[in-house]
């Protein structure tokens, strides 16, 4: 901002208070996460005496050694990675082929096609009919239900369409058409390579979405072997509510945890579950600010 006037006294006071206030807020955003990490590495007595704040007290990794060999956590981790990665690749591909005709092609039925996508943005069949349709296609109790559920999203399609039209000149497309390239070639050779930033944003969104989704997993997965990370997490964290099937590994963990140090194990599981998010966070913060603005262009 341009500074012509000397700041008045009131403005200086405001600046200082603003700085202090925002710093406190910044600490509040971080503290619960840091605390979880600290507790997960602290000894049980320190946890029970509420000594742990920012740093681990009496550093120990017992909680991690308890969960690291746990079969159901391991399985659920695999399942979530499967859904997140396959879902990400397929959704990206799906979003590209859905958005490309909207952005660059004139064809009969385009109006109907775009209405079809927009209406789904504002009106939906709701939770139960969607479940029943999935069920009648025998897609429930399969990880594919989670992938199919969000394979095409009107929101992403519209965002990508705006990005396409905004960043790739039509003349470029036309010249490739002149050269005899078909639309698939144009999409894969020209449009996708030029849209890496937008695609990276959407990819990260999808990964985060699949990593954190809970309701679809709760609805579509019945078999414990197919449970995703969030389902297992929910059982471990909210033991009193989680329905535990007798002989499973998770139940054993819970039983042990309840006797000794449930808080530690819960915190360790939370840490294990958010590590991937923390790892991709630098990429996230690099891309999504741009991405959210893509969304803002056309709403």
């Amino acid at each position: 901002m341009v500074k012509y006037m000397k700041p008045s006294k009131g403005e200086k006071v405001f600046d200082i208070f603003n700085m202090i206030f925002l710093t406190i807020l910044g600490i509040l955003f971080l503290y619960p996460i840091i605390n979880v990490v600290a507790v997960s590495f602290s000894s049980s007595s320190a946890v029970l005496q509420n000594q742990v704040t920012v740093f681990p007290v009496q550093f120990t990794t017992t909680a991690y050694s308890k969960i690291i060999n746990n079969a159901s956590i391991y399985h659920s981790y695999e399942n979530t990675i499967f859904v997140a990665l396959i879902g990400c690749v397929l959704t990206l591909l799906a979003t590209c082929i859905a958005a490309y005709p909207l952005a660059f092609c004139e064809f009969y039925g385009k109006k109907v096609y775009s209405m079809m996508i927009i209406i789904a943005l504002w009106f939906s069949g709701g939770m139960i009919p969607t479940y029943l349709v999935m069920n009648s296609l025998h897609l429930t109790n399969s990880l594919w239900a989670l992938i199919l559920n969000t394979l095409f999203s009107s929101y992403y399609i519209i965002i990508l369409r705006s990005f396409f039209t905004g960043s790739i000149p039509m003349s470029l497309i036309e010249s490739m058409r002149m050269d005899g390239a078909n639309d698939f070639t144009i999409l894969f050779r020209l449009v996708i390579p030029l849209s890496k930033a937008a695609l990276a944003t959407i990819a990260l969104w999808i990964i985060v979405l699949h990593w954190n989704e809970f309701l679809p997993a709760l609805m579509y997965l019945q078999d414990r072997k197919k449970y995703t990370l969030q389902m297992i997490l929910q059982e471990i964290i909210l033991q009193n509510q989680g329905a535990l099937s007798g002989a499973s590994d998770s139940a054993r963990i819970n039983a042990e945890g309840q006797m000794v140090i449930p808080t530690q194990i819960q915190n360790a599981v939370i840490v294990v579950s958010i590590i991937p998010m923390i790892v991709i966070y630098p990429f996230l913060s690099k891309y999504f600010v741009k991405g959210i603005m893509l969304g803002a262009v056309k709403g």
Partner: protein
Amino acid sequence: MKTKKRTAAGTGSPEPAISLRNNYRVRRNIWKNRAVYLMILPVVVFYIIFRYIPMGWLSISFYDYKILKGFGGSKFVGFDNFVYLFSNSSFWQALLNTLLLNLLVLLICFPAPIIFALLLNELTHRKMKKAIQTVSYLPYFLSAVVVVGMIYNFLSSTSGSINLLRQSMGMNTINFLQEPQYFRPIYVVANLWQGIGWSSIIYLAALSSVDDTLYEAAMVDGASRFQRCIHVTIPSILGTIMIMLIFQIGSLITVGFDMTYLLQTPTNLSVSEVLTTYTYKLGMTSSRFGLATVVDLFNSVVSFALVMLANVFSKKVAEVSIV
């Protein structure tokens, strides 16, 4: 009609000849765009199966639907499900809880990111601004399960820091998650913590695109920093605020399922049962699909109406619209 078509295809009298040529042009266009049609084919198939058939299946609300029998075997019951549900106090309780929760969110969680963005925008220290901003959207990437886990940790009656603090100060412990009156504050605070940074991004972006010359002009006119904020900054981001408001109003009767469901305990159900969790329990737990679908239908129709209403309103007031 039928005969006319046949002659058009066969002989080609003057009038149909035009349509024949049109027809030919259409076909040539379709053939030329065959790659495009190939591209949209899976999209259309997907949308029909996973978006539009479920919309059609909202008609389950007129059936006593049994999952094993399907439409054919289930009994058509007319408006019985509607009558049953709308005369049931638990439905109205869930609707009321949903509205109250969302009104709180609208009053607190909606303006908070705007204020946060404005304050951040006034921060003169560049690096600090960046650091606080980066930290502020970290909570958004945690799942509801994790956030609720953290809430359990903090509020636990035996080992939660809040209660230990209360004990050390000689106060009695409170089982926050079991007491109905604490559910809404917990929900709002958790939402605030998770969403404030993320929601502020869009306002910050809008703020950064405000024309500097406007500020210069205001300064020449002798406007103080506060006046500049009121008369330049806020009007320039009003459009963004209105669009976000439309979205917020559109989701006035939808409460996020995950957080609510996970914060529910048997004793706080009187305030924590909202439409989404109510639908889930009716459908998935009690297998009363007909009734649950009525709630879904209600939800879809009212949400749609709210979006359209908010859109019309904002078009009139702020000349911003999304449709």
